[in-house]
Structure formats: structure tokens, C-alpha cells
Assembly symmetry: C2
Amino acid sequence: MTEPSSAPMTRIQQKNRDRILEGALTAFSANGFRGATIDQIARAAGLSKPNVLYYFASKDEIHKTLLTTLLEMWLDPLRRLDPKGDPLSEVLAYIRAKLMMSRDFPRESRLFAYEILQGAPHLTEVLGGGLRQIVDDSAAILAGWMEQGRLRRVDPHHLIFSIWALTQHYADFDAQIRAVLGTSRDPLAEAETFAEDLYRRLLAP
Amino acid sequence: MTEPSSAPMTRIQQKNRDRILEGALTAFSANGFRGATIDQIARAAGLSKPNVLYYFASKDEIHKTLLTTLLEMWLDPLRRLDPKGDPLSEVLAYIRAKLMMSRDFPRESRLFAYEILQGAPHLTEVLGGGLRQIVDDSAAILAGWMEQGRLRRVDPHHLIFSIWALTQHYADFDAQIRAVLGTSRDPLAEAETFAEDLYRRLLAP
DNA sequence: CCTGATCCTGACCGTTTGGTCAATATTCCG
DNA sequence: CGGAATATTGACCAAACGGTCAGGATCAGG
């Protein structure tokens, strides 16, 4: 616990904590938790190592803060599924949003990828709690649409998994995709038309 | 270079190198390259640390050996795409094979996941060379089927990417999937029916 | 301008880790 | 059996790393 509740948080604190988290995101997403060093983070943040540890008690705490802060943003598009909207448009909008996040926030995607690959040691409570709730809720919305015959019947959970898998793949495995596709193509633009076709086919009633 | 070409390779060498690679696979796939220690590998292999380094010059070499050894096996199912076979059956068989690999060889999947997340520092030549060739060849087979009207037209490269993404997701993000789905379900069995439905829909002409 | 709180750093510490080496044990084979 | 090749290990080393700390710089506000 560093700033539990009633923290005034000066401008300097605000600025430096932000810088540190920004640098840490770069470092952790490039090398994983163990691969990143506090020195790296400090350099990326433009601070000295002891100064970094002045704002965060430990490397672990930086990591945990980063994960919990970003998880909200990361799951936000799924929360936006509107039960009142047009089912297919809603799903396709979700997919587009996730693909844009892979393009605009690949570091965040990789950060979570590393964490989950490792067995999610810092996220177990969140995974079994909040995440599961959100996914179950969204799955229920999807299932509702399917029952009304407005979407084809498929397993809603696996539908969500498949969207995660496909969209995040373009951020997490970027190195592989670029190696295979060469430099002249725009993977994410192509991915969007591919994914739209894929899920339209799958879900159109 | 440890055993470049004319290596007699005694039984003890064979056995211990195998043990080391086996232990290293467990260690690397659980914690990534930097997260795994030679001591861990040695313990998993039932050897002492110096003894491990007697068989492999460095941690790096163990890792590289592991990657190059397993890459062949990893890509094998894609090579089995038979241009003379029934297109849809061929693709579905490939998907099933990949899903079985996620079930039976999750460590291998995670090993590659870590490596590519990191930007594939040990695989750059292979990715741009052999892998690209195999993918392009397979994409050509798929494109051929599409031109004959035996498969629906989609981008063959992204088709392959999507299959990789979906199938490997179940191994790499196992922690997340189990957290969301709970313990009473069998993710990979369900994934098989989901994936078959998905790609049948997408590809049936 | 003074003073207390906040901010920052160089020097340092203990541990972990990749890797070495000399010495010993074991195996192989004539 | 005997000696050379192979295998194994405890002890050790240097570098990297996470983290501490005492002291100095800077800032806010009365």
C-alpha cells in the first residue's frame, strides 16, 4: 500500500508516478516481469533508480499497479455491449474496438499476455472475480440474442475467447506476423476485413 | 556449437541432453527465458548445475536448441496439408491437430509464445526464412482451392493466423480460460466443436 | 526568508544468477 | 586389470539486480 485512500498527491507525485508507470509499461511489455529491471524502468522514466523506489515500494508494486490500472481500460469495450443494440453490429463493433486496441495499445496487450502466460500470479483474484463476472454477463447478452434468433447459436464463452484470441494475436505475435507477411502489408487493416467476414458468417442467423 | 556434425554421442550424452531439454522446456515455458534459472533446469533434469553446463555451453544454447528442435514438430501439421485432399476436411483436420497439440503440448506452445512476445530474438532467421516459406506454400494451396471454388474466398494468410490464434490461445492463456470457465468444463473439447463450426461456416463454399 | 515537508541521489548491501575450474568419480575398452 | 576418455561436482567468481539509507537539494507556505 503506498497511497491507500486520503493521498493529497502533489503535482510532482502525479507526474512522476505517471512517468514511472509509462516506463514500466514499456519495459514489462518488452521483456516480461522478470526480464525488466528497475534500472530500465528508471531510465525510461527519466529518473534514478532510488527515485523510482521512492514512489513505489517495489518492482512488484509497480507491476501490480500497472495491471490493475490497465485492466479496467482493457475490458472496457466488452462492457459496452448493448443488449438493446443490433446484435451483429454490437459484436462487430466490439471486434473492431479490440483490433484498434491491438494497433494502438500493443504494449498493454503484451503486458497481459505475459502475465497470463505465467499463470496470472498477480491477477488470480481479478480473473476469478471481476473478469469472470463481466464475461458471464456478456455471454448472457449474447445467449439472449441467440435465443431470440437474432444471432446464430454458438457457445458464447468460446465466441468471446475466439475474439480475444484473434484480435490480441495481432499485438502479441506481431513479430511472427511481420516476419511472415513482410513489410509491405498492413496486418491490422487486413485483419479487420478478415475478422468482419469471419464473424458475420459465423453469427448471421 | 556443441555437436556440429560428427558427434558419436554416447548413451549417457543422449540421455542427459534429453533430460536437460525436457527440464528446460518445463522451466522456460513456465517462466520465460529470463525467468528460468539454470538451477531450476538442473533440478528438473535431476542433474547438478555444472553438469548441465557440461552438456550445453550456456543457458542461451539450451534455449536455442530447444526452439529449433521443437519448431519442426510444431509446424509439422501445417506441412501435412494435402493439395489432393478434400479442402474443408484438410483444414478441419489441421485445426483438430493444432487443438490436440494445445492439449498435449502446452509447454511447447508457451515456449514459442514467450519467444515471439519478446520479438523472437532467437528465431528471426527461422521466422523470415523457413516459417515464411511454409506459410506461403500453405497459403498457396488454400488459394488454389479457393480459385477452384472449393473453399470460400478469404485471405489465406489471415486464415492461417486465425487458426494459430484460436488454437494456441487455449494453451497459452489457459489460466484465463480456466478462471472464466470454472473447473467443471472441458475447454478443449468445447473448443473443438466451436472451431469446427466456425471454420465450416467461414469456408464452406 | 525561514522552516518543515517533500524530493532526489550516490554509495552501499545481500542475494541471485550465469558461468568457470580444478579435482574427483565413473565408464569404456584394449 | 589399467589407463585414457568421459562424466560429475563442490567451491568459487564476477556481474546484475532488488532494495536501503543517510544526507543533501528543492519546494511550499507562513
